[in-house]
Assembly symmetry: D2
């Protein structure tokens, strides 16, 4: 059994990691850290876990972690991980960071969206953890920058088509809709029940920090500069993310072309499901699971392709993909701990 530490275990992504890993056949949780709840049993913070997890949360200590863990999940806000990770890496542990700190190989791009980077020496070797795309690099990586939820929902449907040059990259628009858990457990007016319920709104319109992340990976896969228009919206629900993508084909494209492209690209990947032609993705179908369901429609009248993806923002968009990456890094079965049957409703 591999020993796992979760740094920032009482945030939503951290707690989701605890949920998933508490059912993982090849790992054992050894350390949960939480600044706010140090000294408190995890299941007193999340009573849903009563009887299932009896670990007491503790303050972060590099020594403790290096002694007690083989694998470390960082579930902290960006800027903190780049302070902690170099030390852990030096001790030979594997690290999966759920923040933005290690998602960019180019420090300049990171710094344009976030702040000065203080661990640049790690940027060359860190791997972007989009499990289905960078599988081989992930297998041999020591440090993973786990993708943002929005980029995951945009990139998984786009990359197969972009890679084959099927779309005109100048025409990309992604209109994304996310449940409220994406904003995390920290208190804010934006997550206050009465401000969200019966409300639908856009935010950070064409100004979200996940936009450079998408552009950077799309450009890499297209092998030329790509810039996408991205608008996120907030949905009055807890979990789930649906992204609708609009693009003009680079050349004539029919339904079968697209089915073929996805089928060959994702044929052996257990967490990508292509919707039947008469069905459409629904966030409810992937709630609590690591699936990404993809549907599409050709708008022939306007020569435009419409792609629709859904994920659970906390699972495939965060903790689930992180565990999938750990499975790849450790040589476990890719689906270990992740075969949750979704609730039918």
């Amino acid at each position: 059994m591999s020993r796992v530490a979760i740094i920032g275990a009482t945030g939503y992504a951290g707690a989701e990691l605890v949920r998933i890993l508490s059912g993982h056949p090849e790992t054992v949780l050894t350390v949960l850290t939480s600044r706010q709840y140090a000294g408190v049993r995890f299941d007193r913070v999340y009573p849903a876990m009563a009887g299932l997890v009896d670990i007491v949360c503790e303050e972060y200590s590099a020594d403790r972690i290096c002694n007690e863990a083989d694998i470390v999940f960082m579930a902290l806000p960006h800027q903190l991980p780049m302070a902690f990770v170099p030390d852990i890496i030096k001790h030979g542990l594997k690290v999966i960071d759920l923040s933005a700190d290690f998602r960019f190989n180019d420090a300049a791009v990171y710094e344009s969206a976030y702040q000065p980077h203080t661990a640049k020496e790690l940027l060359k070797s860190c791997v972007y953890g989009l499990s289905e795309i960078y599988t081989d690099q992930i297998r041999t990586a020591q440090l993973i920058g786990n993708p943002g939820c929005y980029p995951t929902s945009v990139l998984l449907p786009l990359i197969p088509l972009i890679k084959q040059g099927l779309l005109d990259p100048a025409t990309l628009v992604a209109d994304a809709k996310s449940g409220v858990s994406g904003a995390g457990r920290s208190l804010s007016q934006a997550s206050h029940y009465c401000e969200v319920n019966e409300s639908f709104k856009a935010y950070k319109v064409a100004a979200h920090r996940h936009n450079p992340e998408m552009d950077s990976i799309l450009s890499r896969e297209a092998q030329k500069p790509v810039s996408i228009t991205f608008v996120p919206h907030l949905v009055p629900m807890t979990r789930g993310m649906l992204t609708t993508i609009y693009a003009t084909p680079a050349a004539a494209l029919n339904v079968q072309d697209i089915v073929d492209c996805y089928t060959s690209f994702y044929s052996r990947r257990p967490f990508i499901r292509l919707c039947p032609s008469d069905g459409q993705p629904d966030t409810l179908h992937v709630r609590g699971t690591n699936y990404c369901d993809i549907g599409f429609k050709l708008d022939d009248r306007n020569n435009r392709l419409i792609l629709i993806s859904v994920i659970d923002n906390l699972v495939k968009g965060a903790a689930g993909q992180a565990v999938q990456n750990m499975n790849l890094m450790m040589g476990f079965d890719e689906t270990d701990g992740l075969l949750h049957v979704p609730l039918p409703l």
Copy 2:
């Protein structure tokens, strides 16, 4: 006092008409029809109205209506109104039809999206009731085809810019999100609580019947054929519609150009509110009101304009705009009965 009949008063749009008109200073409700609830007091169907409306619902009867009403609101599914309206029009009553039956001057367009039209003789004179755009024609009309909720949310932000030729009409995409009440009171799996709650999904992707309605009005205003890509989505909330529109400017365009365009176009219109530059529309801000709030953002990186509109789909998207049209037709104050102060939450 003008006498008003509501045909189909117990559906959601009908009930919303009852709510609004029960507070209207210039009209009195005389006839409410309902097939399902004939013989039942309206406030037994909608107990919220107990003590406020004591009318008993009745079967539809052209005679009754022509004797008892000066103005008729038709709140029925399409196909029924075109069977009833010719008779009512002949008797000289004014009619505002909330279905699609009288939204098109060209029967062929209607028939391509719906079914054969059985009252074509009225299509030449019926007026499309987009209150802020066709104000003058509405004032003198006898028969109004009240706009669909989606077209209202798409056309109000687009027309000022399209009319001035500021946008490239080949680039229009409208990504719309609607509360569940848009699907009406009729039972369906799609409106069943457990299938909607915690669910977000697209439906009728690039295949919604409101698409030809938008195209037809956009083409009229652009004075050339315009076709928009339109994708509706269902939001787990009762009321509200937000539409995000993407378009490429026809020529260089800055923020002030757009502010000026809207300001001059809508300056004296009481129900259009332009959001401040640091704010964004939110369905909660217009819930229960006849407002359409409009915001926008230029995505300079991609030379793309993003427009965002919100309405209450049952008010500005249906019953409220219908009453606004009645006010215009009857020479009442345009805001009569419609100055509901929104709930702050």
Copy 3:
């Protein structure tokens, strides 16, 4: 026109006062105070009000208020009002306090549930503002302690029966369910969207501060000590409160007895609606209104009476009842500003 100041205008009860009073025919809003938003226009805090309220929020100043207002609504957390009110009262203004500070004539009861009272001299003359019960005292009062939302929902259905001695006071149980807005606009884990959505729970079980308030009024009306078991619960919705009350009749009681009791007691009161025998109260029926709907059922098998009341916790449970009290104090029509037709859904 009477001039009105609202102290604490940007909390939920304060904003609801702004909403209601902005449509009141006999008053004009002159001062809105807000510590957090001093210097900000009210409609920038609540964009729903854009175009409807253009007042800039300011810091509290007794001088300003005494110069600019005839009537003052205090919408602050308890403990603050008792510091401010004595000064205002001295200047002859009428005050309606929505906190608990002036709900008790007996300082000891207040102090057992809250903290030391610093304006005891006002407790003799302040009037408990349960509009339908203490109507005459309210008309002539200068200072009103506006009832809590839970006490309002418990007392309105109970008092007519208790007053007539129809119930055994030793058997009273009130099981109350409230929407989340009752917890106010202040941030807290308990009002965080993801902790409330799809969650139902009890809180402060038999330990809520509103319990002594209920007991105190019930005892006054029963003319003997009454103590009720009270358990509040949190419902995943924004507005609305439903309370289910269980009691054993003091003597044989039939349906007609209860109907007669309510009918005679509340016959001329515009905001109390008795449900028909085949209907039941629903929070949706009173949303955004000042109504209290009451239903009941005799459980003959167990000789137990079940009363059910619904109110909108922010309206009849707070701001609406406060305005109703102002109307009584000022000699306005009792319903001025309060005849909102509820949304049918």
Copy 4:
């Protein structure tokens, strides 16, 4: 592997059985029946299950079932099971019926609440499947009447105390609150999204069919006639049931007495969790799981005990308890297939 058939697999309880059993280590699903979806693949009805269940639904056929299954779950509305079950029982299969048809040993009680019973010969041997209470009888039963969701939530907290005579049975009141999925997948106005959202209401006040079921089991355990006042309410959420029970102790009772009673009674039962004294049950803590969490509070002022239980109405209140019963009947581990880690939110 034991072969399992689910009759009525596309209703909510049926689909939940499919979910749970598709992860069960000792069984294999062989037959799923559905009148409405015969001929349709199950995962086309519930696309959440795409890739997980590839069985095609079929019409009910006793022959098929007797050939293909060892265990049968009946997830049909009452009245149908008593027509089908005798035949299946004759063939020696084990049957767990989720309807009310086999919950009563006394036909007269069943008939007073439902309709004439047509398989009375089975009522003597059928066992009431409240897993924690009738464990031994369940182990050896061939036919289980699986408890209703409300009775489960009322009986699990009450029976330990009632059995020890700690409560006065004349004082029992149960105020229950259920999510909407309890009403099933059949369309009805009561489950229509816009009628439920932002609504809270009681229904079937002191007139619910589950009341005789509770009374009958409480009387059995108390060894004297017990009748409880029961009022169910509808909560705007999909899953979850919280029941608040009020009772007067039969004699002086302190906190430790109650803790001891529960601890000894449920000490070895994996699905009962007693809340810590400073915590309270929350439906969110048991969502998607087979747990029943129990909390309590003594209202010393009024000498009244308050018990609070939560379950997921579709799991411990239906499909989960049914699988637990199968595990007992078949000699599997009691928790097989049921150790779902709840989502933290």
